[in-house]
Amino acid sequence: MRRTFQILLAAAGMFFAAPLFAQLTVPEITYDSAPNLLKLPDNIYMGEAVGVATNSKGHIYVFTRTGSTNVTTGTNRAFVRSSSRLFEFDQTGKFVREMGQGLYGFIFAHAVRVDPQDNIWVIDEGSDMVIKFDPEGHVIMTMGRKPEAIRVPAAMPMAAPMPMMQGGNAAGGPGGPMREGPGMMMGGQREGGAMAMGPAREAPTGAGAPGDNFDRPTDVAWDAAGNIFVADGYNNSRVAKFDKDGKYIKSWGSRGTQPSQFHTVHSIATDAKGNVYVGDRENRRIQVFDNDGNFKSMYINVGAPWAICITPGQHQYLYSSNSNGTADMDNGEIYKMELDGKILGKFGSAGKQLKEFGSVHEMDCRNPNEVYVGELTNWRVQKLTLHP
């Protein structure tokens, strides 16, 4: 049985490899970017623009990693707050307001999405929470729970000599070749767990543990009935389905490379029929499931899907961003596809200039020819007008 499966997989691999060559002839879609799209007040700054979404009026929401994470010690535990902020702009890019100032669940932003009723949903991978705001900005539903205290992971200090006369090398950290990716977060001990300056977090289990709580969730989507699909996430490697009231229904997936397994489920979207599309980033594929989580298909010819987006309307399109890593300037192009995976065109590349991308982390495609991109390393949002 197992061998049969492997053969099937190999055959599938050959089948899927074919479009790889076709990719060489993917047409370029021309596009423009509006300079200085978002106008912030003088004393407010964007950080990493990990999340961007628009509502039905064209207002733009940006969920950003900014400020500094504060670790407060209390008795024997460490408590963490801040560094995620949620900003709202009007359709012209004028700053409207900040939402959720000092919110308990705002630690390390990951994504924001707006549902058909214009509710704003944010996913925070630091607090392990999905938080639903109504259009006025009130919190009306929470999913998951912020750990009471958080371990402070610390590499053991290398044997360092006493600080020398030159000052300098006393404390701090080098920027190793880290890349946004799995296995870099605190893990393990949670509620009431002792804060410790000790060996780093435990390795993520990737167990796909079922239930209501998340482990570094990444994204959210809804079907027409309002069922909620949460991409969960860096550490748990599953997709979780809840009903519209937040009641847990089921989940599927675990860490791995087989179909229905994930290695960083990083972005999620649904089509009008309720099929679920999952950006399975490190596995460099988009997996498609039916509404109950049954595997249907996968698209392996569009690179690493950091961000995916499905347009509304009669004819739906699927956008997927093969974003550059945070420590390289490779790739960066965004693909436009039919829902069945057929590539229609691509646009963009990695870089720091206008029209170039710095690790696109989320896209909004409410209007199919007007794509908003939130960029991790360029700390900005661009509004791209496509001329397909």
Partner: protein
């Protein structure tokens, strides 16, 4: 057996501690080679409180200072919850703060202003270089702040080999310079021990250097400047030398006669000068302070023209100069770590010539 190991550990500790004391006493470097012969340049200071703050606002360690074409003064300081960037007018009056709560601000190290008056901050806490336009909005970023969940990352010991540098990440970067084409040169830094060159849009071109004492190696490249021909001057602080590199980072010369270069600055104009500060250390070791603290004025070829200043806490003395601005060759702004201040120094080199 257990007791034995305790004894061993204890005696090892004693040995270690006593050798540390010895090190403390003996770790006083000789004066800079040029110290005895360099003529004194007369100078004045506009005072230890040159910068005028509104009530309730304070400077912390003054790590970076730079002036723009209008004479406005930018100061990058370790202060408040993290790190702050302040702007003053040309008279030292407070104007505004830039980058409040910025994600890239954690541990200030340097600020420089390019020929278009863009402001570049180098932060060794977030491993980032942040470019602001003259209005104070973020225009471009180099490097990336480690993610919150990554926690603390160990710093390799001074005598250890750090992990290899990668093109788009820094290891506690220290300073920035540009050539006439806008190419970017970063001294990187406490951990990476290299100089890295990017084009004006931040695309990696090349880098040179690892930690060490050989030519083209660095032991904390701490400050960096270019001349009009695009040559790159690197203050190799721990090695007590300035290394001069060509525009493609090939070694051209080494100046090792002006002590430990904490800060270097090259003046604009047709005749360029090189200033280098042999700063007194920031650990307040008064034995070392006695033989450091002076700033040298040089020709670009390393010929010493004169020196001024000494370590001390009074005005006209220096409390660990960490950065200099020399847009006007006879008006030096110094940013000082341990004294939490910026001084405006006016030089009178003609008087020295008499």
């Amino acid at each position: 057996m257990k007791r034995f190991s305790i004894v061993v550990a204890f005696s090892a500790m004693v040995l270690f501690t006593s050798s540390l004391f010895a090190q403390e006493r003996n770790n006083v470097p000789p004066p800079a080679t040029a110290f005895a012969t360099a003529p004194e340049i007369p100078y004045d200071s506009a005072g230890a409180n040159y910068l005028k703050f509104p009530a309730g606002l304070y400077l912390g360690e003054a790590m970076g200072v730079a002036r723009n074409s209008k004479g406005q003064i930018l100061v990058y300081t370790r202060s408040g919850e993290a790190t702050r960037l302040f702007q003053f007018d040309s008279e030292g009056n407070y104007q505004r703060e830039i980058g409040q709560g910025l994600y890239g601000f954690a541990m200030a190290h340097g600020v420089r202003i390019d020929s278009q008056d863009n402001i570049w901050a180098v932060d060794e806490g977030t491993d980032m270089v942040i470019k602001f336009n003259p209005e104070g909005r973020v225009m471009m970023l180099l490097g990336r702040r480690p993610e919150y969940g990554e926690g603390l990352i160990a710093t390799p010991a001074n005598n250890a080999v750090p992990p290899p540098a990668v093109p788009y990440r820094f290891g506690r970067p220290t300073d920035i310079a540009w050539d006439a084409q806008g190419n970017i040169f970063i001294s990187d830094g406490y951990t990476n021990s290299r100089v890295v060159k990017y084009d004006k849009w931040g695309k990696f071109i090349k880098s040179v250097g690892t930690r060490g004492t050989e030519p083209s190696q660095f032991n904390t490249p701490h400050s960096i400047q270019t001349d009009a021909n695009g040559n790159v001057y690197v203050a190799d602080r721990g090695n007590r030398r300035i290394q001069v590199l060509s525009n493609d980072l090939t070694l051209r010369a080494i100046y090792d006669h002006v002590g430990s270069p904490w800060a270097v600055c090259i003046t604009p104009g047709p005749h360029q000068y090189l200033y280098s500060s042999n700063s007194n250390p920031d650990n307040n070791n008064s034995n070392v302070a006695a033989v450091t603290g002076e700033i040298y004025k040089m020709e670009l070829d390393g010929t010493v023209l004169g020196k001024f200043g000494k370590a001390g806490k009074l005005a006209k003395e220096f409390t660990t100069v960490h950065a200099m601005d020399c847009r006007n060759p006879n008006e030096i702004m110094t940013a000082e770590i341990t004294g939490w201040r910026v001084q405006k120094i006016t030089l009178h080199p003609q008087a020295a010539a008499k």
